[in-house]
Symmetry: C2
């Protein structure tokens, strides 16, 4: 810990950075870029956390390239930050101490598909949509869908999830093995391709969610699912957020294997109606989807409809046509853009927390009251089957008082989630933005354990420093 503290906030020696950049230029030619514009694009750009660009950006083409970069940086104690598509939301790609950004743009190959084993191997820069396009004709798909067309390396690094997680799990459940370049430049495979193993420490799960602070993911072996024979989607209005949450709980308790169950609060429905040209009733709404055989999705839909009715919801309208289904889910994925339309000219800020599902209605309802009491504009959407929800805050950055109210609101949101045995982030990760909440969430002893692991694997603190611990 002393070592980290002594190093905290220190910028690497400028001369050392220059030597590394020089060596990288000699090695990588025009795959090394130092222009101001490109460097700024590789710092945080999506949220109100400031932009902290790296000193240079390098585009490797193979794991061996990444090893060379890390070794050069380690020798000069210069930070290394991995970059996928830059869609992380808590400043994960920022370079607070400068350093070298490794952009995986050119490492985007599908290395192997093992359809019989329901797995595939991809390079870290492959994006999820591109992967699914390439898998489609083999009857399999990769189910994790965080909305953005993120890179799979970044998705693993932030332990992301999204709408399908209620059925298919998160990245922690869908990564079989990782190829990782360690801080000393050595490369490891975290596991074999067997579906399960109890052979030693679970390095796979340790790397998933470590946000590039313990090693750099260059290749992933991913679990796939068979493309379902039938998919049924639909929407269901509810009189209250509480009724929608209670219907969700009973749906899951009843063992209905719902594939997606998404809550939109009234304000979000209004925003989506306007942006996506829908005509939904302006009341809390569940968007749901079922995967299975024709008979099974019909049965699931019917049972869900009955449960909804029990809580005063409904009617459950099933979108039978593929186009209609796509339009609904496009509207759900466009929730962010719809939010922006609610208050043009303001800044849209996305945050997430996750609580045990039994506390979700209470957490969302209290949060809505807090939003109203503080005169904020902030629709809520949620992966309600997991107890995970997002608040989209439309902030007038020119209004200092409003900015202060938003800051205080974000603190209370996390406190509220933690008080309900929840977490400060269900799927966005810690990055820089949520570091301050970790002591309250985990306690000092657990956080010290994380720090001890960080020091053990990255004694020079060069791997994405200034994040998580």
């Amino acid at each position: 810990m002393v070592m980290l503290e002594a190093w905290e906030g220190l910028k690497p020696d400028r001369k050392a950075v220059e030597r590394v950049v020089g060596a990288l230029a000699a090695n990588f030619g025009n795959r090394l870029v130092t222009s101001q514009a490109v460097r700024e694009q590789h710092g945080n750009t999506l949220t109100w956390i400031g932009n902290q660009p790296p000193d240079a950006v390098v585009f490797p083409q193979a794991t061996e390239d990444v090893q060379r970069i890390v070794r050069l940086c380690a020798a000069e104690r210069v930070p290394v930050i991995a970059f996928g598509t830059g869609t992380s939301l808590e400043g994960q790609v920022n370079a607070p101490r400068g350093g070298i950004c490794i952009d995986f743009r050119d490492m985007n190959r599908l290395v192997a598909v093992h359809a019989e084993d329901l797995d595939c191997v991809v390079e870290a820069g492959m994006t999820r949509k591109k992967l699914n396009e390439q898998l489609r004709d083999q009857g399999v798909f990769f189910p994790i869908d965080p909305g953005a067309d993120a890179s799979l390396g970044g998705m693993a690094a932030t332990r992301c999830s999204g709408t399908n997680a209620v059925r298919y799990g998160t990245m922690k459940d869908n990564v079989l093995s990782l190829k990782v370049v360690l801080a000393n430049g050595e490369v490891i495979s975290t596991a074999r391709r067997a579906k399960k193993s109890s052979a030693g420490y679970d390095l796979t799960r340790l790397m998933v969610g470590s946000e590039g602070t313990l090693g750099i993911i260059t290749e992933l072996t991913l679990r796939l699912a068979g493309i379902p024979e039938a998919i049924a989607s639909g929407i269901c209005p509810f009189p209250s957020v509480e009724a929608a949450c209670k219907a969700t709980i009973l749906t899951i308790q009843s063992g209905i294997p719902v594939a997606r169950i998404e809550l939109l609060d009234t304000l979000q429905v209004r925003a989506s109606n306007a942006y996506s040209k829908l005509t939904l009733p302006e009341t809390p709404m569940l968007f749901v989807e079922f995967h299975g055989t024709e008979a099974s999705v019909a049965e699931q839909s019917q049972r869900f409809g009955e449960i909804a009715q029990e809580f005063g919801g409904g009617p459950f309208e099933r979108a039978t046509q593929a186009e209609e289904r796509s339009r609904l889910w496009q509207a759900r994925h466009d929730a962010y853009w719809a939010q922006c339309g609610l208050r043009p000219g303001t800044y849209a800020l996305a945050t997430d927390v996750c609580v045990p599902i039994s506390r979700l209605a209470e957490c969302v309802t209290e949060t809505q009251r807090d939003i109203a009491a503080n005169k904020l504009v902030a629709p809520i959407v949620g992966h309600v089957g997991d107890g995970n929800f997002h608040v989209g805050l439309m902030v007038d950055l020119g209004d200092k008082d409003e900015v202060a109210r938003v800051h205080a609101f974000l603190e209370r949101l996390v406190e509220r989630a933690l008080a309900m045995d929840g977490t400060c982030t269900g799927e966005h990760g810690i990055g820089q933005g949520k570091m301050k909440y970790l002591p309250a969430e985990h306690g000092e002893a657990a956080l010290d354990t994380m720090r001890a692991i960080k020091r053990a694997l990255d004694p020079l603190d060069i791997m994405n420093p200034g994040k998580i611990v």
Copy 2:
């Protein structure tokens, strides 16, 4: 690593052990036991790995007791070994350097059930059968079933799984959070009760499968499943292991959410017929089970029957009565006892490997050939949906040549699994018995990473030393 090597094989100072035992006696009275018989019961007893008893056994009643024990041991650098029910198969509970065994017999309470959240909190000594008895009237159950009525702390420590894993996952998927006493006596909670989180390193998964070498689990928050509305079981004969494996692959690829799919080879069927008074045809056999609604299990059964037929298997006979179903699964669980009956007076040795499912038929068939060529008696049963299978070796320990052939066979079995991108153990763990295979499975760099984590969390090497790394 130097530190571990210097310490390797060293027994703690006898005087130090005596001081710890004295202090424990003063603290725990008759909950500290040092009799030879009890100490031997707490070393390995189930397999042919020798019995290495601890110096004393202590029975804590609360996490604070465990903290006191660990602090006393840490101060004197005396090993600490956690003990559940002693059913581990690779020498996990042995005390090669002596030390204090912590038996969780008296920490067996169900602390809380959150039926709406589908989770519960238990003390580490609770066994899975007892838990399910206590949960039954709430409509939920804990699905992991390793056969033995093991303690849940031990099940998490070895990352166990069993027959239901193909549908419900392994312990890694069904532990939400752990309370762990660290090597310095501090206690941590590894996570909140939220269903998912991306808040920092995944300490839960790091502890699951660490076999007490990184910390001692005292309490677990477990994921539960709703008791299915309908259960359908049945048996299906196949002309060959290959046909049975191919039917399994297609079943899973087709998205049939099979809850259990177990292979018994011809020799195992013969053994089970004799032991469990069944009249199954003596040919490879799949035992399967489906969970869901009445309509859904009927559909799953029908589809499975069709797939079986496609590969020359069948007829698929559904056990419609609960008693008939129980009798079948009892026979599956009694496979070990049935094996013993094949060659009375010999020693039964259980081992497991796991390979990608596409390689399973090949791996099992080659293993059967190896068994025959070496004149061994060794039936095979497998959690075939996960590519995991067990070989039960009936060994005449008095026959030195046979013992040598068994040793060589076990080496080849692991080499075969590794060559197929599999693992040396799917669910039994490493303990002492499989340490020698880890360099081949993970490579030195990954193993060094595990060692670095071990040193960071247990610098004195007192937590179950001599296991895994």
